[in-house]
Structures are given as structure tokens and as C-alpha cells.
Amino acid sequence: MTARLSGVGLQWHASGQSSLHGPLLDLAERLDEAFALLADRIWRAQAERHPATLPAAALQRLDYLYSFPHQATFPMRLDRAEANLEAFRSGPMVGLDGVLALTELAAPLDVLTPAACYHLYHGHEGEQLGGPLFLTTRNTCFRQEAAYEPLRRQWSFTMREIVCLGTGSEAAAFLENAHLAVDRLLKGVGLPVEWQAATDPFFNPRSDPRYLMQRMQPVKREAVYGGDLAIASANLHHEHFGDAFSIARDGGPAHSACMAFGIERWLFAVVDQHGTDPAAWPDPIEAAEAAAAAQEDS
């Protein structure tokens, strides 16, 4: 499959990341535009763009590092003291094995974005919501894995999310609508999936409260293509983020829910389903227009 993909614009890197050009890049952009179109047309979601990193202190409030230490990636910086920078320059800087020969590091304060929507809760910290708040954002996300596979499992990948912050029933209603809209979109682009209950890949599940809660009261459903590739996920967070970031709605912590799309995985699914001739690929924007129109009519 990798050879077929490289013929339509994939360049695969040993680090577990991909570069895109040509037809695949065009399809990636059109897919993202389709997801953003759903967010705008159905929920009038406010679009946001955020940096590549999140403060570690913010992630700590979510217990992210406790639950997923094996997936986190930390950006490193050299201590800016002149002597330290000179010491770095006077060394090999990069060894023959490709390993950086670092000198003193600056205090690490940040984590590379592990999920696009975390920025949204952090960005709306302390707000009192007068009604449901719909947001959408896209970011490059980083998750370290034991093994990587082009477009299917990557160290860095692109995630588009649509989020609702509101009461419990507003969040639940959003997710129900989002589920319908995604089903319509999937039908429009001719991708068969099966929605399955899922859990996140916690480091030590048995001792992790959030994993246990996911088992006892399922909050995550994934649209699985080809039996094992989750291309979208619908997540109900209850008050987890509202609590952590003091976002209030209706006299209590806001509930939240998100629909997330892994764009590289959609690329894989489209090529796997429709082949490597771009002329045979569906138009995701047209499918999203139809899905949004059907949603407005229902």
C-alpha cells in the first residue's frame, strides 16, 4: 500500500511521519474543508487556531501525563546562557548516529499538542456560558507509539475537531447530531464504517480512573473503517474539562463533547476504498454540503 500511496503524493519518514504533495495533499485539504463546513453549517461553530504546544501545567490539570506518559512528546530548548550555547556549538551538535549532543536545557514547560481540542478548553478557561458553545479547530497532534504505519498510525498527524460545551443534555444532543452528520458524510464519500465502543490507550489501565470510567460507562465511540482503523471518534467528556478549566454552564461545570477526525486516516480509507486514481475519488466538500443540507431539513 505504501508504494501505491507514494504514487499519489505520500513521502514517508523513518520518524513515523508523512509529507504530502499532489493529489493526496489536495484530498487532505478538501477533507478538512468538508469537516469545517459541517461545523459551520450545522452548529455555526467558532473556528479557532492554536499553537503547536500546550503548557504542561494545563495538561496536568487533566491528568493527561499520568494517563498517557508513553505518548507525550516534549519540545526541548537549549538554555540560552551564552556559555551554554557556545558549548553546544563547539561540540558535534549532532552525532554520527543522528542523536543531538545537547548541553544544558532550558526548563521544559510545554508539551507538543496531543489532541487538538485541549486548546479549546484551556482557551475558554473561566468562562460562564449563557448557552451552548460550539467550536472547531485543527492542529498537528503528536503521539509517540511503539510502531508506525503510513497514514494509519503516525507520530504526528492532523486532527480536526468539533466541540460542544454546554449542559449535559446539550452535549449529548450535539454528539447525536454529529453522529448523524458524519454518517451522512461517510455515505456521501462511499466509506463503509462500523461504529464501535472504544477506550483510549491508557498507560496502566487497571490503575487509571479514567480508563475504568470508560469501561463502566462508555463515553467514546469510533467510526472504524476496514475492521481496525478508527477514522473518527465521538467523545462525551461529562464535566471533565469544565471542571478542570472552570467553565460554567447553567450553574455548574460545563459538560463537553467532541467529534474528532484523523485526516491522514481518512486519506488511507479513501485510497483503500476507491483506488489510486484521483479521478475516482469522491468530492468530500460536495458530500459535506449534502450532509449539512440533509441535517438542516431534518
Binding site: 465502543a197 489501565p205 480512573p209 475504568l212 470510567m213 469501561r215 463502566m216 460507562q217
Partner: protein, 102 residues
């Protein structure tokens, strides 16, 4: 009448009744401020957010102690922890030695 029945609770063996009482006491301790009269054996604990995720590792340990067996968290299915009745039925072995209800 089996010797391990408590007078007045003829429908459940003493060990099971004790386990139920311990489970109920633990829930009330974690519920913080919940009126004991408002907690029945059918009160939905997760749905009503009486128990929250932070309590769950300890709940698993408690049920393992009361039930006398290890709980494989990979086998947990939704609904098994809905309320005290459900947890008793799924994880606490009756005093007659029979298996907990699957």
C-alpha cells in the same frame, strides 16, 4: 434454616449481607454529603455522578476483597457497576459458594 442466616434477613446469607453493608458504607463515604436515606440499592451511582472516576480504582479493590476474586478490568462491561444491587450480583460471590451472576 442454614446457620449463617441473620434473623430478619432470611433471604440473604450473613456474609452477603455484610458485603452489601460494607459496599453501601463505602459509597456513602465517597458520596460526601449524600443523605443515606437517598441511597437505595438501585440508585444509579455513575449516572447520577455519586461515584466519579477518581473513586473507581478503590472500588475495584473493594469489590475484589468482598468478592474474593480478581476483577479483570478488560472484561468489565457497561451496566455492571450501575448500582449496589448490580455490583453485588456481578462481583460478590454468594455465601453458598455459587458463582456471582455473570
Amino acid at each position: 434454616m442454614p446457620s449463617d442466616l441473620i434473623a430478619g434477613q432470611t433471604d440473604q446469607p450473613a456474609a452477603t449481607a455484610d458485603a452489601r453493608a460494607q459496599l453501601r458504607a463505602w459509597v456513602l463515604e465517597k458520596a460526601g454529603g449524600l443523605d443515606p436515606a437517598g441511597l437505595t440499592d438501585q440508585t444509579p451511582l455513575l449516572e447520577r455522578r455519586i461515584l466519579r472516576s477518581v473513586h473507581l480504582p478503590e472500588l475495584i479493590l473493594l469489590l475484589e476483597r468482598l468478592g474474593g476474586g480478581e476483577i479483570d478490568v478488560e472484561d468489565i462491561s457497561p451496566g455492571q457497576f450501575r448500582d449496589i444491587d448490580t455490583m453485588m450480583a456481578n462481583f460478590v460471590r454468594p455465601a453458598d459458594g455459587s458463582e456471582p451472576r455473570p
